[in-house]
């Protein structure tokens, strides 16, 4: 089966997308016929030879020598001196952050009629902006942590009591995130988040809160769930640690929690996923407080596709690729114009 891994993008997470793509390549190269399409920060697409899938290729600018690609209907295409070529296949959207998770890539792929693994436009909108994620959780009946929104153009005091955690509203990873324990740290922490987004979300920081991650997808009308992982406990992952996290490939063990709690987490996942994220393999990160499950965030394109949470990752991708939703497109038949023309006798 042919699979095109699409990565890069004009995003703060451009580099972690490269790391993700290299990791996923290792995991899938024995099961798929892989092609690699790199989206540069200026939105040029390049066809990257498999043996060149190394981070150095991109940091050194070597990729600029590779074949440039254009978007065509249902494929990437290129013209060489005397020949034309096309790159066909199902796309695995592995662009993290802006472009990949904000709905831009989903729109383009839909428009050009690609078959792709990844969140669709509406799913992207609801998971990319943390405010909309809370709205979605509310609508679906899943608990979420209370929050406040601040904007860099207005002066406003926060009402939550310290400590709080401050996040840019539209960034997927922990970039720009700070924990504020004392009032004199607040202003700088806000400016740190404002470097990445004009709006920030403030939530209470709950020391030692239990955190669980769960990934899954719907294929053949059935929900397939990964094991539940309790991520290693740190206050939060800074960029360097996050970078390492995106290259994870070794399998982890199921969290040591009751069957009842597992069922609660799975149920919350199902509520969030169903009728919104079809076509994507997503990871939901939950908090558990007093045995209640709270949605923290949705990663519609998780780092290295959360491969380490699945027993048979290649099989999961294959199943998903074989049951992707197809966008309904209106058929234009000009019946209306024709009937008017006939009525006029022309």
């Amino acid at each position: 089966m042919k699979l095109i891994i699409l990565f890069g993008g004009a995003s703060f997470e451009h580099e972690i997308s490269i790391v993700s793509a290299i990791t996923v390549k290792e995991k899938l190269q024995n099961s798929f016929e892989l092609e690699f399409v790199f989206c540069d920060q200026d939105h040029t697409f390049y066809l990257v030879p498999a043996e060149k899938m190394k981070s150095k290729t991109f940091s050194s600018g070597e990729h600029k020598k590779f074949q440039k690609l254009q978007l065509s209907h249902g494929c990437f295409s290129f013209t060489k001196m005397f020949s034309k070529g096309e790159v066909f296949g199902t796309i695995l959207n592995l662009i993290h952050g802006a472009d990949g998770e904000d709905g831009t890539i989903a729109s383009i792929l839909d428009f050009y009629g690609f078959s792709f693994i990844g969140p669709r436009v509406d799913a992207s909108v609801f998971s990319y902006d943390k405010r909309y994620t809370k709205m979605l959780a509310k609508e679906k009946g899943v608990k979420y942590i209370q929050y406040e929104v601040l904007h860099n153009k207005e002066q406003k005091d926060i009402e939550l009591s310290l400590p709080v955690i401050i996040k840019p509203v539209r960034l997927g990873s922990s970039i720009g995130v700070s924990i504020v324990k004392e009032m004199d740290e607040l202003d700088y922490a806000l400016d740190v988040a404002y470097e990445f987004d004009s709006s920030v979300i403030v939530e209470p920081f709950i020391e030692g809160v239990k955190e669980y991650n769960l990934a899954g997808y719907i294929a053949n009308r059935e929900l397939h769930l990964s094991i539940v992982e309790e991520p290693q406990k740190q206050e939060f992952l800074d960029f360097e640690k996050k970078y390492m996290d995106f290259s994870r490939s070794s399998h982890v063990n199921q969290a040591d929690i009751s069957d009842e709690l597992i069922a609660k987490l799975q149920n919350a996942f199902k509520m969030i996923y169903t009728d919104m994220f079809e076509g994507a393999l997503i990871r939901c990160d939950f908090f558990v407080i007093d045995d209640e499950v709270y949605l923290n965030e949705i990663n519609p394109i998780p780092g290295s596709m959360a491969n380490y949470l699945f027993d048979d990752f290649a099989k999961a991708i294959e199943d998903l690729a074989n049951s992707l939703p197809q966008k309904k497109r209106a058929q234009v038949k000009y019946e209306y114009i024709d009937s008017i023309s006939k009525a006029k006798g022309k």
């Binding site: 860099n152 700088y188 740190v192 404002y194 470097e195």
Partner: protein, 244 residues
């Protein structure tokens, strides 16, 4: 890194900055030179004098800070003044490299640190004057498209606004600004500096009453090789002054 919006003369400037050692209460503010940015300065100075609160700032139009209009050095000073008030930072020690040295001087910190500072006007060489005259002549015939052949390397990558800024600031003479600087200044220079020659350093030293000059082996970016010595002197000078 962090970012703050500053409104000045009807324009908004996004100022990108970074604070290290936030719990200290003495500020060590570092301003980069023309075409440079805070990342370079941070790389050089962040390992030293950690008892000070380091504040690294991208000047408007450089690094991640924005400037959509042309500015002169006084505008830079005013914008930074607003910014420092916003973040509540007193002007204890301000170090500036090259163009940043001019802005640092205007800000009148308690202790001024000049690293190969600009500010002494050096008249344009005959070669540059000829280029300007020739270009102005060509422009009369609508041949402005050959501009890139005439523009200095420092200016080639600039937006039109920043090119205007460039032309304004290279023509400023800071003699009287240096002469009226009221506090102590430490001057650090590279002896092989061709952008702001050692002769400028000696002039500034005579202009600023309470100043001293340390000369190092190196060019316009000499300070990248001697951060430890520079920081040691900054610290001892600041502490000695405080005791007075």
């Amino acid at each position: 890194m962090a970012q703050k919006s500053i409104d000045y003369k009807g324009n908004t400037f996004e100022i990108s900055y970074e604070i290290l050692n936030p719990k200290s209460n003495i500020n060590f503010i570092v301003l980069h030179g023309w075409g440079s940015n805070k990342t370079l300065m941070k790389k050089v100075f962040s390992p030293y004098i950690k008892e000070f609160r380091h504040i690294y700032i991208d000047l408007p139009g450089f690094g991640n800070s924005t400037a959509l209009v042309a500015l002169d050095s006084y505008d830079y000073k005013n914008i930074l003044e607003l910014f420092l008030t916003e973040i509540g930072a007193s002007k204890d020690i301000i170090a500036g490299h090259s163009f940043g040295g001019k802005v640092a001087t205007l800000l009148q910190p308690k202790l001024l640190v000049l690293l190969s500072s600009a500010g002494i006007y050096i008249s344009k060489s005959l070669h540059v004057k000829t280029k300007i005259a020739l270009f102005k002549f060509l422009k009369l015939f609508g041949l402005a498209k050959f501009r890139s052949l005439f523009v200095a390397d420092d200016a080639k990558q600039l937006t039109p606004q920043m090119y205007e800024t460039f032309k304004i600031v290279v023509n400023e003479d800071f003699t009287s600004v240096f002469e009226s600087f009221p506090n102590k200044a430490l001057l650090f220079w590279g002896d092989k500096d061709s952008a702001t020659p050692l002769s400028s350093a000696k002039k500034i030293q005579t202009f600023i009453k309470d100043s001293s000059l340390e000369i190092f082996d190196g060019d316009h970016y000499f300070f990248m090789h001697y951060p430890q010595q520079i920081c040691k002197l900054i610290k001892s000078t600041y502490e000695m002054d405080k005791r007075k």
